[in-house]
């Protein structure tokens, strides 16, 4: 009876040593029970028996402990999932402290850590809710839930046969969640994994892979986005506009700060923020723009920064057809017979070309019209963008003579009619516009001649 129970309960080759060691005095058991709950240092076979199945323990008649066992068995008739622990604690606050508290409660309630695999899986699922998915200390604490030195294989047969596969899989899942969030484990993780699973198990191999690949991939983004983006819309606009401007000389101007005014009638009038960016190249391009051709205000275009989507608007013009392009006349001092030969302005030789290159294809064929400025605004309606154009006019006076066409995709918002548009500079004649609602691209043709 004893032997069959041994064979049924134990799944690994450790039973050989256990069987050999069975005839031992009961006093050792009591001493083992009185030991502190989490023996980290392996003191031979006694520590093993505490964690390893209750077969041997049951065979030693000890009335008080048996009764406790029976009590527990009768109590645990209903199926209680580990999620409930989290739900109960989450009623007050979902933060790192309450998460740690739940893990501590689990650790203390059972020295054998029964059901730790399910608990860890439930904890991994609950981490995003508690906001601790990026916290390495919490992951280490979760790995601490595993009982130590129980799952370490002790001979080559155990090492061959995937010792304690469920627990190894669970630890690999913890590390995989760390990998998904891009968290690099530290030496404490390694020490924990080696203590729990030994040096050649799957978790330690996964840790080694993480330590090889994650540092390589952590910093290869040439346009990094911080994990915690500012909530302030103006700072966010500044960050995203510098990112998309592709020009270090570009200057950001805040044309309007967000404010809420209460008018005389008691209505609240909110002014959205307007932040624009324009570089010196764009200023010079706009100065050379032909006033007979219109400029377009296009938008909104989405920009994703991790999980936030911001929208920006462009001021651009269409491509000038090749026949109307004006070639810049080069300065005769820089090019021509009087040029300095040591520092020539232009060299006719294209040194990167080679005989075998394919000249039929030219990237220049895909040119698009120039972009003169970009902005981000709280609201995407024509009034706000008109305010932006006015602001731009201060640095680019030519905008006063160029007709502006608004090509806004309203999406779910309604386009404001031209009659509602108020100009700060108090301009005249706004020709009435008929709004044509085309599904693909909504063009609001309001020809406004500014002076």
């Amino acid at each position: 009876m004893k032997i069959t129970r041994f064979l049924m309960r134990t799944q690994h080759a450790g039973w050989i040593t256990l069987f050999v060691k069975t005839p031992i005095k009961p006093s050792c058991f009591h001493a083992a029970l009185l030991r502190p709950p989490i023996p980290r240092i392996c003191i031979g076979q006694e520590a093993r028996w505490i964690h390893c199945g209750s077969t041997v323990y049951k065979d030693k008649p000890d009335n008080s402990d048996l009764s406790k066992l029976f009590e527990n068995e009768t109590k645990a008739k209903s199926l209680v999932t580990h999620d409930d622990l989290f739900e109960r604690t989450a009623k007050d606050a979902k933060n790192k402290a309450s998460f740690n508290r739940v893990v501590d409660v689990f650790n203390k309630q059972d020295i054998r850590r029964r059901g730790h695999v399910e608990f860890i899986y439930a904890a991994l699922q609950k981490m995003p809710e508690f906001g601790v998915e990026r916290d390495l200390a919490v992951y280490n604490k979760l790995l601490d839930v595993f009982p130590k030195e129980v799952f370490v294989p002790r001979n080559f047969i155990q090492r061959m046969f995937n010792h304690y596969p469920r627990q190894q899989e669970c630890a690999v899942q913890v590390l995989e969640q760390m990998e998904n969030y891009g968290i690099v484990p530290n030496v404490e993780t390694k020490v924990l994994l080696v203590q729990i699973f030994g040096e050649k198990g799957h978790p330690v191999r996964k840790y080694q892979r993480l330590m090889y690949w994650l540092p390589k991939f952590k910093h290869i983004n040439p346009f990094p986005v911080p994990f915690e983006l500012t909530q302030d819309p103006i700072d966010l606009a500044r960050f995203s506009l510098t990112r998309i401007a592709n020009d270090l000389d570009a200057k950001i101007t805040v044309y309007q700060y967000p404010s809420t005014d209460v008018t005389e009638t008691g209505e609240e009038v909110t002014q959205p923020h307007i932040v624009g960016i324009q570089g010196p190249e764009q200023i010079s391009l706009l100065a050379k723009h032909n006033p007979n051709r219109p400029v377009f205000v296009e938008g909104p275009f989405p920009l994703w920064l991790r999980k936030t989507c911001v929208q920006y608007y462009l001021l651009r013009a269409d491509l000038v057809p090749p026949e109307e392009r004006v070639q810049d006349e080069p300065d005769p001092e820089l090019v021509g017979p009087n040029q300095c030969l040591f520092y020539p302005w232009q060299i006719d030789l294209d040194l990167s070309r080679d005989m075998g290159d394919d000249f039929s294809y030219d990237v220049e064929d895909v040119e698009e019209g120039p972009v003169y400025a970009m902005c981000m605004a709280g609201q995407g309606d024509q009034a706000t963008l008109a305010r932006w154009i006015c602001g731009l006019q201060e640095t680019n006076p030519i905008l006063g003579r160029i007709p502006t066409v608004f090509r806004l995709e309203s999406g779910s918002r309604e386009l404001q009619t031209a009659a509602d548009v108020q100009h700060d500079s108090g301009q005249n004649s706004q020709s009435g516009s008929e709004q044509e609602h085309i599904i693909e691209e909504e063009q609001l043709h309001s020809q406004r001649m500014k002076q």
Partner: protein, 283 residues
């Protein structure tokens, strides 16, 4: 605990999968107890396996057969004639002296036929992906929505992706045509995205069936904004992964038999995206 397909690809895990199949033999359906069952036809997660006998998979059609003969013999003749001109049908001097090769360019609606768009939807997810030509017919635009809710088939844990993959070009008699990029060392892409990171994958034809799912990948970070972005990725930077898992044993990409290239993106939540790819991929 339902162990998903993804986690079982660790070297020891593959043995686990093999053991699992051995333990469940079924006499009513044909089971092939060999590595072919693991690396055989791709079984879409959530779909029942294709358990037809091999002779049930053949279909006969006469008219299609005649068309096929004409098409394939025509291609075969072109290949022979092309060989006389030079490697891959191009003059030898061109092949030897060129520095760049424009592999893909978008110059009209027929260029979209060279690409296959796919997304989460094929495994039961909710992402959408569409491909269209951009303005002036000179660029292509990949757009849609990404949704990372995994399909409820019990196997998939992570979801939410979209890909744009180049179609497998075929020679005569439906043989695969490989690209020979051995004279080049960099991949050059000109694109415009919306700030989201993408991944470029290249697959080369390998000899053994174990390497069927080997993909070489690298990241493509978009800046967002209206300006085009040009990126040159040396082929030596691509790292090897198989079925989504980075392999321990890395070696460089062999360029003489490249099958396809693709770019893919994944998201953590429901998102819209667009990715405009201009013009070309040069080397």
């Amino acid at each position: 605990m339902a162990v998903s397909r993804v986690t079982l690809q660790t070297p020891a895990g593959v043995c686990g999968l093999f053991r699992r199949q051995l333990l469940q033999p079924s006499l009513s359906h044909p089971t092939i107890l060999s590595t072919r069952s693991i690396y055989g036809e791709y079984k879409r997660p959530g779909q029942p396996p294709d358990k037809r006998w091999p002779w049930e998979k053949i279909r006969f059609d006469f008219s299609k057969g005649v068309e096929g003969i004409q098409k394939h013999f025509g291609l075969l003749k072109d290949e022979f004639v092309g060989r006389l001109r030079g490697p891959e049908g191009r003059p030898l001097l061109d092949h030897m002296l060129e520095q760049t090769l424009v592999q893909w360019e978008f110059r009209g609606p027929e260029s979209l036929d060279q690409w296959v768009v796919s997304s989460d939807k094929e495994i039961g997810g909710q992402s959408e992906a569409y491909l269209k030509l951009g303005k002036n017919n000179t660029t292509c635009m990949l757009y849609g929505t990404l949704c990372s809710v995994p399909p409820r088939d019990g196997e998939t844990r992570y979801s939410g992706y979209c890909t744009l993959r180049s179609k497998q070009t075929l020679l005569s008699f439906d043989r695969k045509r490989h690209f020979d990029w051995s004279t080049f060392n960099t991949l050059y892409i000109r694109f415009r995205g919306d700030g989201r990171p993408w991944m470029i994958n290249i697959s080369a034809e390998m000899y053994f069936s174990h390497n069927k799912n080997d993909i070489y990948s690298y990241f493509l970070y978009t800046r967002g904004g209206p300006y085009w972005q040009e990126v040159k990725i040396p082929f030596s930077k691509f790292f090897l992964s198989s079925r989504g898992r980075i392999q321990d044993d890395q070696h460089c990409l062999w360029l003489d038999k490249v099958c396809w290239t693709n770019s893919s993106a994944k998201s953590h939540s429901r998102k819209e995206y667009h990715f405009e790819n201009i013009a070309n991929l040069r080397m």
